[in-house]
C-alpha cells in the first residue's frame, strides 16, 4: 500500500515543530550572545521535568503545564547564564563552548543523581482525527505541538519586528559594538535572549515529555537535530531555524517512505545529506545574512 504524502508531511511537521522550538532558542543565543550552547538540550530537559511535575503533581492541564514550564525554564536558564556564561562573556567563543559542554554534562548527570534513572511519562488524553478520503490522520497532540510552535513563531515575529526590545535585539545581533555606542543596553538584550531561548526550550521539553518521557537525556537526544536545523537555516537566524527545522522534520519522515525497507534507518542520515548539500551550495545557510538583518 502506498503511503499518502500528506501523511508523511504531517508527521514531518510534528517532528519539525519539536526541533523548531529548540532551534529558535539555540540560534537566538548564537546570534546575540555569539556562542554555541551545548547545554541547550539540558534546558529542554528542565522543561520536561517541570512539565511532568506540573501535570502529575500540580494537577495542571498540559497547556497550563506548557505555560508553567516556559516561565520556570526561562528563569532557570537566565540564572544559569548569569552564573556561568555572563562572567565569561569577554573570554571568546572557545572558552564559552567548553563551558557549555561542561555545563551540559554537569546538568545531565545532576538530573540523573536527583531524579534517578526512571522514565516519567505524562498522562495524556489523545483524540485521533481521521481523514480517510485523503488518507491521513492527525491527533490532538500533534495539532497541539504544531499549534504551539506556530504561536511561538508568530509571537517571535511580532516581538522582533514590532517591539523596541526586539528591534534592539536585531541591532545587537548585527553589530554589538555599534549597538552599544548607539545607547542600546546590550546586557539587557542578552538577558532577554537567555530568557526567550530558555523559555522556548522549556516548551519543547513539555512536548517531548508528552510524546516520550521526562528523563535526563530527553533534551540532549534532540541537540544534534537542533544544531543541524539552526545551521541549515543559517546560524543566528530565527526565521532560518524555523525553515531548517521543518525541512529537516519533513525530510526525515518522507525519506522513510522512499528508502528501501532495509535502509529505513538512514532517514535521519538523509536529512544530514541535505545539510551537507545546502552548506556546499549555500555556505551561509538557507536564509542568508541580508534577509536575516533586514
Amino acid at each position: 500500500m502506498e503511503i499518502p504524502l500528506a501523511q508523511e508531511i504531517i508527521f514531518g511537521l510534528v517532528i519539525g515543530s519539536y526541533i523548531a522550538l529548540g532551534a529558535i532558542g539555540f540560534t537566538l543565543v548564537y546570534g546575540l550572545v555569539n556562542m554555541i550552547n551545548f547545554a541547550h538540550g539540558e534546558f529542554i530537559t528542565v522543561g520536561a521535568f517541570v512539565g511532568y511535575l506540573a501535570v502529575v503533581f500540580g494537577g495542571l492541564s498540559i497547556p497550563m503545564a506548557v505555560a508553567v514550564a516556559l516561565a520556570i525554564t526561562a528563569v532557570v536558564g537566565w540564572v544559569i547564564a548569569r552564573v556561568t556564561f555572563e562572567p565569561m562573556n569577554e573570554a571568546g567563543a572557545v572558552p564559552l563552548l567548553l563551558m557549555s559542554i561542561g555545563l551540559g554534562l554537569v546538568l545531565r548527570n545532576g538530573f540523573r543523581v536527583i531524579a534517578g534513572a526512571d522514565r516519567r511519562t505524562i498522562p495524556r488524553d489523545v483524540t485521533t482525527y481521521r481523514f480517510d478520503d485523503w488518507g491521513f490522520f492527525v491527533t490532538s497532540q500533534q495539532l497541539f505541538i504544531i499549534g504551539v510552535t506556530l504561536v511561538a513563531v508568530v509571537v517571535l515575529h511580532v516581538f522582533l519586528s514590532r517591539t523596541m526590545l526586539g528591534i534592539a535585539m536585531r541591532a545587537t545581533s548585527d553589530n554589538e559594538d555599534l549597538a552599544l555606542v548607539s545607547g542600546i543596553d546590550t546586557r539587557r538584550i542578552r538577558n532577554a535572549v537567555w530568557i526567550a531561548a530558555s523559555g522556548l526550550a522549556g516548551v519543547a521539553g513539555v512536548m517531548l515529555a508528552v510524546s516520550q518521557s521526562a528523563n535526563p537525556n530527553v533534551g540532549f537526544g534532540q541537540l544534534l537535530l537542533i544544531i543541524t536545523a539552526a545551521i541549515l537555516g543559517g546560524a543566528g537566524s530565527p526565521y532560518g531555524a524555523i525553515v531548517g527545522s521543518y525541512l529537516l522534520g519533513i525530510g526525515i519522515t518522507v525519506s522513510v517512505a522512499f528508502l528501501p525497507s532495509g535502509l529505513t534507518e538512514l532517514n535521519a542520515t538523509m536529512a544530514f545529506v541535505v545539510l551537507i548539500v545546502v552548506l556546499l551550495v549555500r555556505p551561509g545557510g538557507l536564509v542568508n545574512a541580508e534577509v536575516r538583518t533586514s
Binding site: 548527570n109 534513572a117 485521533t128 490522520f137 522513510v256 529505513t264
Partner: protein
C-alpha cells in the same frame, strides 16, 4: 533497620554519585582526547594469584575480604534494568555473608557504571583488575563484550554475567569442559542466549499462536538487530514469513512514519525490538495511529517499567523472554520481596545466580586466584554432586568434602562448554497490572533444535 541495610543503602547512594562522577570524568576525557588505546592495562593481571589489595592470594592464605567487581548500567539506555539487578545482587551478598562468606571472608561487590559503553566498560574493568584486585567480575552487556572480547581474554579474569543474550557468545566463553585453563575463554552467562529465547518466541508464534506472517520494527543497536536477525531466522525456519523489517535509529521524537510504513503491509502480528525509552514513544504512536494488530516485544522490555509507563497502551501485547522461574525461584522470590520493591526481570534473577556461583567457586577454589576460581565455576554448578540452591548449603557441602551442583533461581545453571545455560522461554501477555503467562516453551524442547550453544 539493621546496620547492614544502612550500609548497603549508603553504599548504593555513594556508588550512584561516584559512578556519575566517573561518567563525567570519562566523558570529558573523551571530549579532550585523553583516552589511550586501552590496551595498556594488562600488566596488572600478572600473577592471577595476587588480589593483594583485598587480602586474597593464591597461596592458601585466608583473605579478610573478597571483592567482586560489578560493571553495571547505572546510567544509559538499559539503566531501567539495573535497580532490580543491584538489589538481587545485594541480596545474594547479604545471604553469602550471613553464611560466613567464601573462605570465611567478608564478601563485597564493587559496583561501577559503564553506561553500556565499551570504552567506559574497558576503563571500569581495568580499574577492577588493576586497582581493586577483584577476584572475579559479575556483569557486562553484549555490546560491551563483543568489542572487548580480546581484551577480556587477555585479562584471564573469570566473568559471570547475567546480561548478554548475544549469539556471539553461543560458541565463545566457558571452559570447554576440560580441567585445564589453556582453552578457557573466561566468560560465562547465567541468562539464556538470544538463540534460545528467539527460537522459543518463534516456536510460540508458529505453533501456539498460529501466526504465519509477521513484520518487525527494529532498532539499529547491536542487541536489537541481533534479536531481529535471530528471530527472523528461527521464524522462517519454522515456516513463517517475515513480510517486512523496518529499521530505525534510536532516540527519535516520533516513530509514526516508520509505523505507517510497517503497517502498509499485510501481516498477522508485528514484533518490536527496541529499548524502553523508544518503546514508550513507539507504543504511544501505535495507539495514536490506531494501527491495531497483535504485537510481540523483545525480551529486554520485560520489566515493570513498561507496565508503569505504557501498560495501558500495550495492553494485550505479547512479550517473549527467558522464564524467570528456575529451580530455586520461589525461595529467591520470597527473600527478594523482603528487601526490594523493584519489579523483577530475568536479568535480576540471573544476577543473583551469578553472584552465588562466584562465591561458591571461590570457596571451592580455596583461594582467590583467578585461575583457581575459573577452574571451579563448572565444578560447583554442573550436574554431579550434591544439589544446592543457596550459598549456605553449598558452603556446608564443600566443607564436608562433597562436590556440589548449584541449581539457580532462573535456570539450573548447568553450563555448556561455552559457558551458556538453558532455560524455558515464556511468552507473556501485557496488562495494565502486569504480565500474565500466555505460552511456555521448555528449554529441553529447544535443545533438540539448536546445534551448538
Amino acid at each position: 533497620m539493621s546496620r547492614k541495610e544502612t550500609v548497603g543503602t549508603d553504599r548504593r547512594t555513594f556508588l550512584a554519585i561516584t559512578g556519575t562522577g566517573a561518567l563525567t570524568t570519562v566523558g570529558l576525557a573523551g571530549c579532550i582526547g585523553t583516552e589511550d588505546d586501552g590496551n595498556g592495562g594488562n600488566g596488572g593481571n600478572g600473577g592471577n594469584g595476587g588480589n593483594g589489595g583485598n587480602g586474597g592470594n593464591g597461596n592458601g592464605e585466608t583473605p579478610d575480604t573478597v571483592v567482586v567487581g560489578q560493571p553495571g548500567s547505572l546510567t544509559g539506555t538499559w539503566d531501567f534494568l539495573q535497580p532490580a539487578a543491584s538489589d538481587a545482587t545485594d541480596l545474594a551478598v547479604q545471604q553469602i555473608n550471613d553464611a560466613g562468606g567464601p573462605l570465611d571472608a567478608e564478601f563485597e561487590v564493587n559496583r561501577q557504571d559503564t553506561t553500556v559503553d565499551p570504552q567506559q566498560a574497558r576503563e571500569v574493568l581495568r580499574q577492577f583488575i588493576d586497582s581493586d584486585g577483584v577476584a572475579a567480575i559479575n556483569g557486562l552487556y553484549s555490546s560491551e563484550i563483543e568489542p572487548l572480547w580480546e581484551f577480556i581474554q587477555e585479562q584471564e579474569v573469570p566473568i559471570i554475567t547475567p546480561w548478554p543474550g548475544s549469539t556471539y557468545l553461543d560458541t565463545r566463553g566457558g571452559d570447554k569442559g576440560t580441567d585445564e585453563t589453556d582453552d578457557d575463554e573466561w566468560l560465562w552467562r547465567t541468562v539464556i542466549g538470544d538463540t534460545v529465547h528467539t527460537a522459543g518466541a518463534a516456536e510460540a508464534m508458529i505453533d501456539e499462536a498460529g501466526v504465519e506472517r509477521m513484520a518487525i520494527l527494529s532498532a539499529t543497536s547491536a542487541g536489537e538487530e541481533g534479536w531481529t536477525r535471530q528471530f527472523t531466522s528461527w521464524y522462517e525456519e519454522l515456516g513463517g514469513e517475515i513480510v517486512e523489517v523496518i529499521s530505525a535509529s534510536e532516540g527519535q521524537s516520533s516513530y509514526q512514519s516508520q509505523l505507517n510504513e510497517l503497517f502498509s503491509n499485510d501481516f498477522d502480528a508485528w514484533a518490536l525490538s527496541f529499548a524502553l525509552e523508544d518503546a514508550i514513544t513507539i507504543l504511544r504512536n501505535w495507539e495514536d495511529g490506531g494501527y491495531g494488530g497483535q504485537l510481540l516485544m523483545e525480551d529486554g522490555l520485560r520489566d515493570d517499567s513498561l507496565i508503569d509507563e505504557v501498560g495501558e497502551q500495550a495492553d494485550g501485547a505479547w512479550i517473549a523472554a527467558g522464564s524467570t522461574e528456575g529451580p530455586n525461584y520461589d525461595q529467591f522470590l520470597s527473600s527478594y520481596e523482603e528487601v526490594s520493591d523493584e519489579g523483577l526481570h530475568p536479568w535480576a534473577v540471573a544476577a543473583y545466580d551469578a553472584t552465588n556461583i562466584i562465591a561458591l567457586a571461590i570457596h571451592h577454589a580455596g583461594e582467590t586466584s583467578h585461575e583457581a576460581i575459573q577452574r571451579s565455576i563448572g565444578a560447583v554448578s554442573r550436574p554431579d554432586g550434591t544439589t544446592v540452591t543457596t550459598f549456605a548449603e553449598g558452603k556446608d557441602a564443600l566443607d564436608n568434602g562433597d562436590e556440589i551442583n548449584y541449581e539457580g533461581a532462573v535456570t539450573d545453571c548447568d553450563f555448556t562448554e561455552h559457558g551458556n545455560v538453558w532455560g524455558d522461554v515464556v511468552v507473556e501477555r501485557v496488562t495494565p497490572d502486569g504480565f500474565e503467562t500466555e505460552f511456555t516453551i521448555s528449554g529441553d524442547e529447544l535443545q533438540d533444535e539448536i546445534d551448538e550453544y
